[in-house]
Point group: C2
Chain length 454, copies 2
C-alpha cells in the first residue's frame, strides 16, 4: 500500500504486511516441552515449565526489561547470553508465583541453583549457562528453591515433543491471565517450510501480584544468533514496545526467540546475496509477536475492549509509532473508549503530546545511531491543519477542513460497541506508518489494583 492510498482512506484499518497466524500451540521440530506443579503457587496450579532443545544447542536471542530493578532471572539470562544478548542455549525454564525480584544475593543464588538443576537433569551438567530463565509473580519473595529443584528433576523426564506439551508450558506461564496466549505461523522459504510459534503471558505490570510479561518464540529454522537478535529487536519495537496497559514496566519482562534449526532450512544473513528468506522469516516472527501482543492487550486487567491505534502519513515510522503509542496509552482516551464516547478532543490532545522514544529504542527500530541520539525524546511532528482522525470507521476530525466536523454521533457510538476499536490518524505529512495496542480503562482495573494484595 502506498502512502497515497493510505492517506486516501483514513476510515479503513491499515493493511499490515505480515503473514497470517493461528491461535494454536504448534511445537516446531527440534524442541521438547512440559509443565508441572512444583509448589510455588498456593493455588496448586501449574507453576513450572521447561522448553528444551532435543538436538543440542540452539541459536537464541533475548530482549529484556529496562527496569533498573531487573530480577534475578533477567540478570542471569543476560549474563548467560553475554553483552550481545544473543548466543546459544539448550533450555528455557520458567517459574510462576514468585518473581525473584528485589531478593538480593540470595535470590541470585536461588536462580543459579535452578539453572544447575535444569542442566543436570537434561544431561548437560557443567553448562548451566545454556539455561535461560523466566520468572513472574510476587516481588520481594524468595522462590521455594528446594521444591523447584525437585520439580525440575521430575519434569525433565516427562518432556515431550507434542503440541500439547507446548500448550501446557503456555498454561504454566499464566498467573492471573484470563486466557492462555499462543500464536503460530508457517511459511515457505527457498529451501523448505518452517514454523514460528510463540507463547506468552501477562503484559507490563497489569498483574502486579503476579507481575510481568513473558514470551518465548520457537522456530525450527536454522538462524545465526546475531540475525535472530536483530530480527527480535525489530519485531519487539513494532509490537511489544507499542503495547501499553497501564504504563508500568515490570522487573521481569523477557522475550526469547529460539531457533532449533531442526527443519534443515537455513535463514541466511541479511548481508548475503538473497535477502528474501531473511525478510520472510522476520515477518513471520513479527506476525507471531504482534498477535501475542494483541492477545495481551485484549486481556489487560479489567479490560473489555482492545484499542488499536493506527497512524499513517507521519514523517517516518518512528514518529508514527510514537503518536500511536501515546494515543493508545492515554488514560482519558482509554476511559472514553470504555464509555463508547467518540471523544476526538482527547485523541487530538494526546497526539499533540507525543514524543519520540529514547535512542536505544529508535535504533532498535532501524534509525541510525547519530540520528537516534539527536531525535530521542523530541516532540513528534503533527500539523493540526493536516490531521484527520477516524474512530471505528467514522471520520471525526479533519484539520484540513477547519477541524471539528459534523458526524453521526449515534452511529459512531454504535460502531464502538465492539471487542476491538480502531482509532485511525492520518497526519498528511509523509509515508510513515505505525500502530499501538492498548485496552480500555475500567472500574474493574481500579478495583483489582486497589485491593489489599501484599
Amino acid at each position: 500500500m502506498t502512502a497515497t492510498e493510505v492517506a486516501a482512506d483514513v476510515l479503513a484499518p491499515l493493511a499490515i504486511d505480515l503473514p497470517a497466524v493461528e491461535r494454536g500451540a504448534v511445537l516446531p521440530r527440534g524442541f521438547v516441552a512440559g509443565a508441572s506443579t512444583c509448589g510455588i503457587k498456593q493455588s496448586g496450579r501449574p507453576d513450572l515449565a521447561i522448553v528444551a532443545t532435543s538436538g543440542g544447542p540452539a541459536s537464541v536471542a533475548g530482549v529484556f526489561t529496562t527496569n533498573t530493578f531487573a530480577a534475578a532471572p533477567v540478570r542471569l539470562s543476560q549474563r548467560n547470553l553475554g553483552t550481545t544478548h544473543a548466543g546459544v542455549a539448550r533450555a528455557v525454564v520458567s517459574t510462576s508465583g514468585s518473581a525473584n525480584a528485589a531478593t538480593g544475593a540470595a535470590g541470585d543464588a536461588d536462580q543459579q541453583r535452578i539453572g544447575e538443576a535444569v542442566a543436570g537433569a537434561l544431561g548437560f551438567a557443567g553448562q548451566p549457562e545454556h539455561v535461560l530463565h523466566l520468572s513472574t509473580g510476587i516481588i520481594g519473595t524468595r522462590l521455594p528453591v528446594d521444591r523447584v529443584v525437585a520439580g525440575i528433576a521430575t519434569l525433565a523426564s516427562q518432556l515431550s515433543s507434542t503440541d500439547d506439551a507446548l500448550l501446557a508450558a503456555a498454561e504454566a506461564l499464566r498467573t492471573t491471565d484470563s486466557r492462555t496466549k499462543v500464536s503460530t505461523t508457517s511459511i515457505t522459504l527457498s529451501s523448505g517450510d518452517i514454523i514460528v510459534s510463540g507463547i506468552a503471558k501477562g503484559v507490563g505490570m497489569i498483574h502486579p501480584r503476579m507481575a510481568t510479561m513473558l514470551s518465548v518464540i520457537l522456530t525450527d529454522a536454522a538462524v545465526e544468533p546475531a540475525t535472530l537478535h536483530a530480527i527480535l529487536r525489530g519485531a519487539a519495537a513494532r509490537t511489544w514496545n507499542q503495547l501499553s496497559v497501564d504504563g508500568d514496566t515490570s522487573t521481569n519482562d523477557t522475550v526469547f526467540l529460539v531457533a532449533s534449526g531442526a527443519s534443515g532450512v537455513q535463514v541466511p544473513r541479511e548481508t548475503e546475496s538473497d535477502a528474501r528468506d531473511m525478510h520472510s522469516f522476520a515477518k513471520a516472527v513479527e506476525a507471531v509477536a504482534r498477535d501475542l501482543a494483541r492477545q495481551q492487550a485484549a486481556d489487560g486487567e479489567g479490560a473489555s475492549t482492545l484499542i488499536t491505534c493506527q497512524v499513517s502519513g507521519a514523517i517516518d515510522d518512528a514518529e508514527a509509532r510514537a503518536i500511536a503509542r501515546v494515543v493508545a496509552s492515554s488514560s482519558l482516551v482509554k476511559a472514553a473508549i470504555h464509555g463508547r464516547d467518540p471523544n476526538w478532543g482527547r485523541i487530538v490532545g494526546a497526539a499533540g503530546n507525543a514524543r519520540l522514544a529514547d535512542a536505544a529504542l529508535l535504533e532498535a527500530a532501524g534509525i541510525d545511531a547519530v540520528s537516534a541520539t539527536q531525535r530521542a525524546g523530541r516532540a513528534a511532528t503533527v500539523a493540526p491543519d493536516r490531521l484527520r482522525v477516524s474512530i471505528a470507521g467514522h471520520l471525526v476530525f479533519d484539520g484540513r477542513n477547519s477541524g471539528p466536523i459534523g458526524f453521526d454521533r449515534s452511529a459512531a457510538r454504535a460502531a464502538m460497541e465492539a471487542s476491538e476499536v480502531v482509532i485511525r490518524l492520518d497526519l498528511g505529512l509523509g509515508d510513515g506508518i505505525g500502530e499501538a495496542f492498548g485496552c480500555d480503562l475500567t472500574e474493574q482495573y481500579v478495583i483489582e489494583n486497589s485491593e489489599y494484595t501484599t
Copy 2:
C-alpha cells in the same frame, strides 16, 4: 538540612525550605480584578475574569503547555510576550467553558477580538498585545465571542482592588474543580514587604470536558521580566512539572507571573551584588506555586487522597525529581494508595523505570545546556542495594539489609488512612532531593471519564 540528616531519617517528610503560605485571596497592590457571567457556560456560573494593573504596564513571564495543539489563547499570549515568554502586560483575561482549542483560524480571530475588547475597555486601545489570555473548557467549540466582548465591556467598569475581587476571579477560573484554589504569602526584603498571591484551577487534563490547568501569580514587587521568567521556570520545574493526575497534558495549560511593582520594593537581578532578595522572592513564588500544585493534586478527578512522593539521597535534584515523578504517576502505586495497601513492590518497580526529563525541562531546573542534552531521557540512577522506602512513616524496604523487611502491616495501613500519604525514598547516593504530587486512582475517576461527554 544536610544530606546526612536527610538520609538518617527516611521516615520523616523532607523539610522543604520555603516560606509559609496561607490559603486566602490577597490582592497585591497595583492590581484590580473582577469576574462575571457572560454566557459561555450553560450552567450560568461565572465564566469571565479579568486581572489588570492599576498603574500601567507590569512585568510578566509565562510558562505554557508543550502540546503541539496549543490553543488559540496560548498562541496569542506567546506571540504577545515574544520568544522570551517575558515582557510587559496590563491585563490577563480568562474565559471558561470553551477551550478555544482546535478551532483553526476562526478561533485565532476570536481570541484577537477579545484582546482588542479588553484593551479598549481598559483604556489602552491600540495595544492589545498588552493583554494575556487564558481559556479552558471544551476542545473544538468556538467561543460565543459577541457575548464575551459584551461581557468584557461591562466587567471592565466593575473591577476592584479588593481581596474579594481576586477571589471572584479565582472562582471564575473554575470549571469542574470542586474547590477554589488560592494561596498567598508575604515576605520582607531589604527595602520593604511584598506580597505574592496565586490563583489556579484544574490540573493537567483531569477535567476533560473543561480541560486545563491555569494559574496567575501576582506580586507587588518590582522585578524585571527576564528575572521573573527565570524564577517562574525554576518554580514550575519543582512544582507543576512534578504534578500528575493522569499523565495527559492539555492544549491550554498556562501560568503567568505578574509583578506590578506597586510596593516600590525592588527585586534585583541575580547578577547584582546582593542576591539575597532575589532568592527570597524566588522562594516566595515557589511556595505559592507549590501550595497551588498541592491543592490541584488533592482535587484531582475522583481523588480521595493526596500522594506526596519525596526523594532524598539522589545524585542530584533532577534525578530525585524524576524518580519522585514516576512513583507519584504510576497507576499501580495510585491504585495501591487508594486501597491503603503498603505495596512497596510497586514503588520500587516504578522507581526502577524513572527517566530524566527532556533537555528543556532539565535546563529549566538549572542543569547546564550541554549536560541537559547528554542526560535527557536517560535512566535515573537507583542502586537497589542502597534504596530505602517508607510509606506514611513506616519503613517498608531497606535495600542495605537485603531488601524486603518485616513491618507492621496493620499499623502501616492505619497510617495510610489519611487525606495525604507521604512516600519517602532515600537513594543513599548523593545530596539530591525532590518531590512530586499526585492523587489516588479511584473507580470514580473512571466513571467520570468514561461518561458520554462530547
